[in-house]
Amino acid sequence: MYHKTTGYRIFNGFNLFFIAAVSLLCVLPLVHILAVSFSGKAAASANLVTLWPIDFTVDAYTKTFGNSNFLSALWISVQRTVFGTLLSMVLVILTAYPLSKESLNFKGRSLYAWFFIFTMLFSGGLIPSYILIQKLGLINTLWALILPGAVAVWNLILMMNFFRNVPKELEEAAFIDGANHITTLFRIYLPVSMPAIATISLFTMVGQWNSWFDGLIYMNDAAKYPLATLMQTIIVQQDFSNMNVDATQLQNMSQRTVNAAQIFIGALPILLVYPFLQRFFVKGIVLGAVKE
């Protein structure tokens, strides 16, 4: 038996150690930033903080939440996440259902399918999309963040593949009882597809919350930025003009701890939904590609 040999035991020891180390490496940066965010500004500026806060204080968080720009960006992010996910899920479900039918029973299916798939292969690119949003008058509106990506083709494919695996007998029985497509979708398909809908909704929510680039190009006014975009400009581009703080105030606080607090708040919703997400996404990926 191999697991009794000395060589295998040594390997096993090293292996467990290696996996533990690599796994911890995946979250240590987050722990570090959390520790910095709760540390005193002096300790943070002197680079004393590693994985545990020094001179524990919630100063950085009170400052962050006392900032009106931060709060309004947070509110915009919440709105885009809620409405963007709702709209996208309605569209994805309504589109996936017809596309899950056989071409034989639903003439035009292939044409519709390729109409959507082609947008994954080719796009007009950044500048034409920008010009379009501008011509539609959507600059600085929430619509610019929600509408362009609402028909998420990859999610559509996941949903369609799930619908196709719903036993045909259910549908046939419903049709014999006189149901039409609309009743079949809402009374048969939706109830049995809840796991898939939950998975795809969570993916969409994470995507909406994390989205920052559309905010950067479609919002001219920094006051309209969603949180991810605001963080991008303040922390990554180091452009402090978007924070309404004067220079002396800026010097008085350790920007490092405030940055850390903002980074952590930006990651927090993801960390909160992660346990639910993890329950589903393995299934979600397997749902998309690997089929036994």
Partner: protein, 321 residues
């Protein structure tokens, strides 16, 4: 791993034989709700995906917003010719391919190795705990991770440089030196995505018939021999699929990541097509040139993706729908 059946083969037989004329009819009486359900998505896709495709016309113009699509001067292929003569854009294409290629290789090797090692772990609690941790970075955005990396990689006392200093290495300006920038980009991308990448390989490993291991043990195979002759071969189809499909990304070096990590110091070695298009088009107002570069990328990428999916279908019978 047997994928979805081809679209036309799993139709119930009786429908095909019962009334063959049915297949040519639209059957609106029963199917109108299907068309109605598709309508909103079709309209939105037309507007937000197909209308901008018409906008690529500006790649062949000297587009000025105040002159519009009809008033701007037609310049034919000039923007494309300029792209291949302008040293900056040639460098940018090379950076893109180089960074993307390194990411593809590293991003394939790391998940395979980790999946095999994780598969050796018998303690399922430990295994699940490890998976929980390594999947996490995939879900964080590059804005968050960019912020963290800027802090940790700082040459002035960032955590990484503190560790290096402790073992007597001079501080390294990871994000300010072109060569280090490329290395940092590849390593941080692998760090973010390798865990998530293991999922498909772990699924493939779970599908291996235990009888193979039992039989080889009877024949006296060591665990290493089993890994080389049973585990690894079982992963080959999935490695081919993932590897082939990632070829479609050879011009995608990761806009989100580069944009959040780069700075003017590393434009020469770290600038990629997508970041270049953004700076040229949105910041410098060279809309036509930026669109031409973007169009070039779109076309090559489309060709690569189609080829990749065809290859994946031929070699490993993989299809997404």
């Amino acid at each position: 791993m047997a994928m979805e059946q081809p679209l036309t083969t799993n139709t119930p037989m009786r429908q095909a034989t019962h009334n063959p004329r049915k297949r040519t009819r639209w059957n609106f009486k029963r199917n109108w709700p299907l068309h109605l359900m598709l309508l909103p998505s079709v309209l939105l896709t037309l507007l937000f995906a197909y209308v901008p495709m018409g906008g690529i016309i500006i790649a062949f113009q000297d587009f000025k917003p105040w002159l519009g699509f009809t008033g701007s001067k037609w310049v034919g292929w000039d923007n494309f010719r300029f792209m291949f003569e302008y040293p900056d854009s040639v460098q940018v294409i090379w950076n893109t391919v180089l960074i993307a290629a390194m990411k593809i290789v590293a991003g394939l090797v790391a998940p395979v190795v980790f999946a095999i090692l994780l598969n050796e772990v018998r303690n399922s609690t430990f295994k699940r705990f490890s998976q929980t941790l390594v999947y996490l970075p995939h879900f964080l955005s590059w804005v968050v991770l960019g912020g963290i990396l800027l802090d940790m990689l700082s040459p002035e006392g960032g955590l990484i440089n503190q560790v290096l200093a402790a073992v007597g290495i001079e501080p390294i300006f990871f994000l300010g030196d072109g060569d280090w920038f490329r290395v940092t980009v590849v390593i941080s991308d692998v760090w973010k995505e390798f865990g998530f990448g293991t999922i498909v390989f772990l699924a493939a490993l779970a599908g291996i018939n235990p009888a193979l291991y039992e039989a080889s043990e009877v024949d006296g195979a060591t665990r290493l021999k089993q890994t080389l002759h049973i585990t690894l071969p079982a992963l080959v189809p999935m490695i081919i699929v993932v590897g082939t499909l990632s070829l479609g990304n050879i011009l995608n070096a990761g806009f989100d990541q580069i944009f959040n990590l780069y700075n003017p110091l590393v434009y020469d070695k770290g600038d990629i097509i997508d970041t270049f298009v953004y700076r040229m088009g949105i910041l410098n107002g060279k809309m036509s040139f930026a669109t031409a570069v973007g169009l070039f990328k779109s076309f090559v990428a489309m060709f690569l993706v189609i080829t990749a999916y065809r290859m994946a279908y031929k070699i490993a019978n993989y299809r997404i729908f």
